[in-house]
C-alpha cells in the first residue's frame, strides 16, 4: 500500500506533518471529580478522575505524597471488530502504567500527602494513537478536578512510512509495519515525560520522528490550553467569581 501519494498527501488527505482534528469536552461525567472527553480524528477517549481522596487501602497510604493510579481500558465496541477482553489485558495494563507514570511526574504530589488520585481512561473509538489521546484526556480531567500540576502536558505520536516521517498515525498507518514513537512533553519546561516505541529505527530517523512528534505535542498543548481557558471562563461566568476590579 502507498501511504504517501505522489502529491505528498496521506490516506486520509493529511500532509505528513499534520495532526488530525482535535476536539475536547470538559466535565462530561457528573459523578467524577474531574472528567473530559478528547478526540483526535476518529480516536475518542473518555477520562475520569476521582480524588485527591483518602487512600482506599490504608496500608498503602503514602504520608509524604499522593499516590496516582490509572486504569486504561478499551470499550468492546471501540474497534472495528467487537472483542471481549478480560481484566488481564496485558497491553491495557502496560498502557495504564505508562499513563500513571507520565502524569504522576507532572502532578505536585508532595502537596497532597495521604491521598490517592484515581484516573480511569476508556477508549470509546479506536483509530490509532490511543495512548497519546488517553494522556491528553487524563490531563484535562486532572485539570478539571483541580489537581495542582507542574506544567501543561501534551502527548502525540509520530511514525515513519514510505521514507517519510508522519505525524499522528491513524489505525491504517499504524498497521503499516513502520515504527511509531509516542512522546509526552511538559511543554513549558521542555521536558520529555514519556517516549515509547516498539520497533528499531536508525538514529537519523529517530531524531526526525521525535522532532515531529514534539511539534505535534506543542500543537496539542496549545489546543488543550484553549480548551481549559474556555472551560474556566464558562464556570467563572456561571459562578461570577472573576469580577473585574473596576
Amino acid at each position: 500500500m502507498e501511504y504517501v501519494n505522489t502529491v505528498g498527501l496521506r490516506l486520509d488527505g493529511r500532509r505528513p506533518n499534520e495532526i488530525r482534528q482535535l476536539r475536547a469536552e470538559m466535565s462530561t461525567l457528573a459523578s467524577a471529580d474531574g472528567s473530559a472527553t478528547f478526540e483526535m480524528g476518529n480516536t475518542k477517549v473518555l477520562a475520569a478522575v476521582y480524588g485527591p481522596r483518602e487512600a482506599s487501602n490504608r496500608a498503602q497510604t503514602d504520608t509524604s505524597k499522593a499516590t496516582v493510579r490509572c486504569e486504561y481500558s478499551m470499550a468492546a465496541f471501540s474497534s472495528g471488530e467487537r472483542r471481549r477482553r478480560g481484566k488481564s489485558d496485558r497491553r491495557a495494563t502496560e498502557t495504564s502504567l505508562a499513563i500513571a507514570n507520565t502524569l504522576e511526574q507532572n502532578i505536585l504530589t508532595e502537596l497532597l500527602p495521604r491521598t490517592q488520585i484515581d484516573i480511569y481512561v476508556q477508549v470509546l473509538q479506536a483509530d490509532g494513537g490511543m495512548r497519546c489521546a488517553a494522556i491528553n484526556a487524563a490531563f484535562l480531567a486532572l485539570a478539571d478536578a483541580g489537581v495542582p500540576m507542574r506544567d501543561s502536558v501534551a502527548a502525540c505520536a509520530a511514525g515513519y512510512l514510505d521514507g517519510t516521517a508522519l505525524l499522528d498515525l491513524n489505525y491504517t498507518e499504524d498497521g503499516g509495519g513502520g515504527p511509531e514513537v509516542a512522546v509526552a512533553l511538559q511543554t513549558g519546561l521542555h521536558q520529555v515525560l514519556m517516549l515509547q516505541t516498539d520497533s528499531k529505527l536508525s538514529m537519523e530517523v529517530f531524531e526526525e520522528v521525535v522532532e515531529l512528534a514534539s511539534n505535534g505535542c506543542r500543537a496539542v498543548a496549545e489546543f488543550l490550553r484553549t480548551t481549559l481557558l474556555a472551560h474556566v471562563g464558562r464556570l467563572s461566568l456561571a459562578t461570577s467569581i472573576a469580577k473585574s476590579e473596576a
Binding site: E25, S27, T28, A30, D33, G34, G51, P52, R53, E54, T63, L108, L112, P113, R114, T115, A143, D144, A145, G146, V147, P148, M149, R150, D151, S152, Q186, T187, G188, L189, L224, R225, L228, L229, H231, V232, G233, R234, L235, S236, L237, A238, T239, S240, I241, A242, K243, S244, E245
Partner: protein
Amino acid sequence: MSAIRVQRLDVAAPRTILEAGLAEAPSNLDSTRIVSIGDELDMGTDQESILRGHGTQTRAETGALVASVAGVVERVDQLVTVKTLRTRYVAEVGDVVVGRVAEIVGKRWRLDLGSRHEATLLLSAVDLPGGIQRRRTAEDELTMRAVFPEGTVLAVEVQSVHADGGLALHARSARYGALAGGTLVAVPGALVRRQARHFQRLDGRGVDLILGCNGGERQGVARVAQALRALATLYLPIDAGSVAGALQVADAVGVATPDMGSRAYLTALVEDVAAGRVATAADRGQ
C-alpha cells in the same frame, strides 16, 4: 402505574444554554485573570515581594511565578493565589456539613463528605440520646451502631482541621444529628456559598447539600431537589435565595417536577439569573 421516564441528557446543553443566557448579562468576567496550568503570572514591577499562595509555584530556573492549576487569579495585597472552580470540598472550621456514615471504627464514625481527607466524628463529640452528660464508656462504643448506623445521613459541624488535612466533626447541639425523611442531593461543594445561617427552611451546606425540608411534603421535596440539580448542572451558585429563585422560575414556567432537567427550564432559569444580574448591576450604578 406510569411508565418510567427516560430523559436523554444532551451533555453539551448546559454549556450552550449558559453561554447564550449569561453572555449578555453585565460582564463581570475579566478574562485577563483566567489562567491555565503552566501560565506565567505577570505581577508587574513588584515580582520580588510577592507571596505565592495556593495554585501557584515558582520556576527554579527563572524564578517566574507560574500557575499550577487552571483557574482565576486572585490577589490580596502581596498574596497571589489561583483559585480552581471545581475541586473537592475544602473544609473550614465551623462549616455545617452533611454526609453519610461510611464506617464505624473504634470509637469514631467515619463520614463521607467528599473532601480530600477523611472526616471523623468522635463518640465523645456527639450528644447521647437523652442528653446526659457523662464520660463515654466501652459500653457506649458497642452501641454506636444503634445511634448512627452505617448509611445514616448526618448534619454535623466541622470542629477542627488537623495538620494532615483530616477533619474532626462534632454534633453537640440539638441542630445536628441524623436526618430522615428527605432526599440527599450531592452538588459540587464549591457552589455552596458560606452564610451566617445554614439551617433555613431550605437548608443545607457543604459538599453534599441536604434538602431535609423538614416536614415538607413529598412533592415539595422532589421539586426542591430538582431545582438544586438544575442549579448544579448549570454550575450556578447555590444559596437559599438562588434555590428559591429557581423554584419561582419553575412555578412561573409551569414545568412539571420530572421535567426540571429539560432544556426549556434550564434556559428559563439562566434568563432569570441573567436578569437578576442586570438588576443588581443597575442598582450599583445608581
